[in-house]
């Protein structure tokens, strides 16, 4: 603790007032029995001396560090800022700090990252798992933010509902041939979005899914997606499963001289930072990260402080009523948070030469 190395501690306050350290501790924490007048004097001198409690001392005694770990599949993911900001905020409101760990896209490193956090003594961990991975027993409560269809998911955006809403939006605009653009078919999140999307359509609407990773395996990263060709073949709407892909689609279409939204409609997902400032601004689905983070952190803190509701996610052979196994997945009552449709300028009715005058609903 560089913080309180030389700074005042409880005993210094106690000494300067001629009382015992226990009394000072009780006064500041409000736990024991201390006269109101003395509490006031202790508070005053503590403030005067600039007292800052030592987390190390407290942690050693209480067994709690007051820190949560945040494990991300890949920090460089553009969605990360939203997540980190929301989780950090919820945690700080609950009195916790956030220690970050990056698994850098590597599946094996996810376990390693978790271990690093555990060794640092975090009280709990929020994990946004790499797709398809299971969470190893961490030795502390764990909240998982993924997608409702993933077993063990604590809370997440309702990606299925999000897909359904954007599907409805495109259906109502009159599109009859829609291209879905995703990264990889192994993503639970993207599959949920696709499932929801298709559930909103009727039989007359034709869809096709373009997987970017598969395409790039053949043509190299950053290759063209061949959307102009798709447009020729009658696709009037391009529903990307991420704003990053939507952006790629938008610029590729524009470059090919296909006006958006006049000729083709482009929609995205996640409302990433640039979505509002490109021209035309992207119609997209926004996750309510603030709520998701708050639910996840609350569930985690509850498990930490009260041994709240948990479920054994991985150790299937063990009995569920086993005495606290150390690592445990926490669960929340509300596990799916609805996404919100943000209509901007990139979506409109199909066919040539029509402009979308809908204003953004803030």
């Amino acid at each position: 603790m560089a913080s309180t190395r030389t700074g005042p501690n409880l005993s210094r306050i106690a000494a300067s007032l001629g009382v015992s350290v226990a009394t000072v501790s009780n006064a500041l924490s409000g736990k024991g029995r201390v006269s109101a007048e003395l509490v006031e004097r202790i508070r005053a001198t503590a403030a005067a001396l600039g007292y800052v409690p030592s987390q190390a001392g407290r942690a050693l005694r209480t067994g709690r560090s007051g820190v949560l770990g945040l494990v991300l599949p890949d920090i460089s993911n553009p969605l990360f800022p939203q997540i980190a900001q929301a989780v950090e905020y919820s945690a700080s409101v609950a009195g916790y700090g956030i220690l970050i760990a990056d698994s850098r896209g590597d599946v094996g490193m996810q376990t390693e990252a978790i271990n690093r956090l555990v060794e640092r003594g975090v009280d709990g961990i929020v994990i946004v798992p790499r797709r398809g991975t299971r969470i190893a027993d961490a030795g502390c409560p764990v909240a998982v933010i993924d997608t409702p269809s993933t077993p063990g998911n604590t809370v997440s955006a309702d990606h299925w509902q999000g897909g359904r809403e954007i599907g409805r939006h495109l259906r109502d605009l009159g599109h009859r041939k829609i291209l879905l653009i995703g990264a990889s078919s192994t993503s639970n999140v993207q599959n949920d979005r696709i499932g929801g999307f298709k559930s909103a359509l009727d039989a007359t609407i034709k869809t096709e899914v373009l997987w970017i990773e598969k395409l790039e395996e053949q043509n190299g990263p950053g290759c063209l997606l061949g959307l102009a060709d798709k447009a020729q073949r009658g696709f009037t709407a391009f529903a990307a499963l991420s704003d990053l892909h939507a952006l790629r689609a938008l610029t590729e279409l524009q470059r090919a001289g296909i006006a958006v939204p006049d000729i083709a409609t482009v929609t995205g997902f996640d409302d990433l930072i640039w979505s509002a400032v490109v021209t035309p601004a992207l119609t997209t689905m926004r996750m309510d990260m603030e709520t998701i983070a708050e639910i996840a952190v609350t569930a985690l803190v509850n498990a930490i402080e009260n041994g709240g509701p948990t479920e054994k996610g991985e150790l299937d052979e063990a009995a569920a009523d086993e005495p606290l196994p150390g690592g445990r997945l926490v669960s929340a009552e509300k596990s799916r948070v609805p996404m919100r449709l943000v209509i901007r300028q990139s979506s409109g009715p199909p066919g040539p030469a029509r402009t979308n005058l809908l204003a953004e609903n803030s």
Copy 2:
């Protein structure tokens, strides 16, 4: 510490081997004098018992938490992932964890965020300051990542050089009328980039600076930048001071039917995630964040562990030889890291109907 709450500790290992805790501690840390044979046995049982040292106990005794704070002006900034990832990596290599704090764009909250970190006992802090703010005395070593022209800067990209390189690139391509696009004239970083940019041009080249924030004050956020009009007036190159603005320029020009790079050239800064996947892929300047983070973390760790080179940045009236004032700005020998020009498809010679066939230099 949820980690070692019930787990094995030094005394358990000591007991199970019939030696003293001090010996175990010495054996595991390699500091005292312990026979090689006993070290081996201790190591073995420690591993067998799954021993994890308690950070709390260690921190309390040594006064070091092994954690660095990372203060960011606004986590939602798209540049953040790069920074966080690089800093987290460098820190973990040096054996430190990263605690994040977000000042959410608010100037006042920067101080508050720093205080939160200090209260959590971080050993040092890496700050990417909100533009124009000074760093308050934090009570622990502080490394600042901003721009070389900012007093107190520890290390950063050489934004001036970056500007110069992209200026040269556009000059060599033959552009004679260039529009610079920035967010705000109060940003040191952007001003450095502009300064470097102009230093690369000769007198025959005309430039103009468009400040987005000023424009949005009048026309509302997300408004058009009027670039089509600028193109009409003879501007052939649009050099944005951030990829976010470059993207905005690119899509706005495309929407107006101005082909990039055939008619107009667009360049950016920072090589953000989407820069390589839009069409045309953005020519941009890339910061070497890995190196910057490594230098910053190394300087910080050096100051923490050896009381390395520091300078009093703020407390001007105090003598420089004052005994360690607690909070101090660390300095590094190498404080400016060159940026690298990444040529992609969005830049080309001016004038109609010419295509840029330069390959990306990876």
